[in-house]
Amino acid sequence: MIRAYIDFKSLECFLAIEPIIALAKEFGVAIDWQPFSSRPRALPTQVDDETVTQTHHRVRAESEHRLRLHYASVRGYKITTEPSTQDSTRALMRLSQISGDRTEFVKQAFEACWLQNKNLDDTHLLDQICITASAAFDSSKNDLEEIQVIAEEAGLFDAPTFAIDEQLFMGRAHIPWMRELLQQA
């Protein structure tokens, strides 16, 4: 099994789900999708009296954003530079409430966010996605914060992070190693 910690507001996560689903399919293993609230992705604005630390973080954020758009373009995706979903808490909560296979919900929610530029901070939209994804959920379940705390205690700091046999892999670049683990299993 692959455990996948994801956040819908993260373009890096969106770019990871297709290859991870393909990897799981290749080896006939399930994906246990888990919510993880990642750090905000808004691009910092350059200010006049910027410190070295601020400049570093700004240049890093700009570079990461540019490269994500580059690889999205390589896949043929047209990604909006100003996504409507800024707060993914409601969607992550819904993910945690779904019983059974969550893959179809994950795919449709990401597509709504990144290809259709819909705002996932909308209960009605999430209900609609659950219907089309045939995802049953329990709206009384409220363990999102606990999942986040447990994940951070296990060493997570960002999404997407994948776990196979207790080994953590931050990002889809590790798929060759993950494939090897699945081959050995």
Binding site: T53, V59, R60, G155, L156, F157, A173, H174, E180
Partner: protein, 229 residues
């Protein structure tokens, strides 16, 4: 020196004290050899405290820490664990460092070798990176860096004057202009107008330099096995 311009098809920026730069060396050398090209190897000395805070360890335990949140500590622990497992696949040992080193001299050794003894680059990188990450090298000692150069077959006679003159000017110029060039870490690869951070872009760079045959590859950390070194 224009940090984004070179006669080579690829510029790679490295820092000896970066674990991710360490594990990028062999895949990058492999790409260079596979393509029959000569890359432009340059130093970029990281200012780690400015973006990751600082810490000092003694006997494996942190005795001083400044500006590091629990999430930053998770990220740092993960980075070392991740780099260590890939290093081990390459047949290397990677131990966590006890302090944040001033790697500028060892990095100027990369520049010196690249400029005047280009064919010795693989040997110099092998002379400095693995022993530093086994905690066997004091890279702040110029005599140690000269020994690494000599071990790699580089005549180190002129290195000291290089490190206080031309080499230091070039080294510092890279640092002064790095942000304007869109660089913030290592390894950074410059291919034409494109700047890529991280070895996970090597499959794409290989595709670019091979005539862009077939579909463009996604990012991936290539698996290398080096056996016992």
């Amino acid at each position: 020196m224009d940090v984004l311009k070179s006669n080579s098809p690829v510029i790679i920026y490295l820092d000896v004290k970066s674990p991710y730069a360490f594990i990028s060396v062999q895949p990058t050398l492999a790409l260079e050899q596979d393509l029959g090209l000569s890359f432009d190897w340059r130093p970029y000395t990281l200012d780690i405290p400015s973006y990751l805070g600082s810490a000092r360890k003694e006997g494996g335990a942190v005795v001083e820490s400044s500006g590091r949140s629990p999430k930053i500590w998770n990220a740092i622990r993960y980075a070392y664990m991740d780099a260590r497992r890939y290093a081990e696949r390459q047949g290397y040992v990677l131990k966590g460092t006890e302090k944040i080193w001033d790697s500028s001299l060892a990095n100027m050794g990369i520049l010196f070798t690249n400029l005047y003894f280009r064919e010795r680059i693989p040997a110099y990188l092998e002379a400095v990176y693995p022993p530093f990450w086994r905690r066997e090298l004091d890279i702040e000692d110029i005599e140690v860096v000269k020994q690494c150069l000599d071990w790699a077959g580089v005549d180190s006679t002129e290195f000291e004057s290089f490190a206080t003159g031309e080499g230091k000017v070039m080294h510092d110029q890279i640092l002064e202009t790095r942000f304007d060039a869109g660089m913030y870490g290592v390894p950074t690869y410059v291919v034409g107008e494109d700047v890529f951070f991280g070895r996970e872009h090597l499959p794409y760079i290989r595709w670019m330099l091979s005539g862009k045959q077939g579909p463009a590859p996604d990012i991936a950390n290539e698996l290398l096995t080096g056996g016992a070194r």
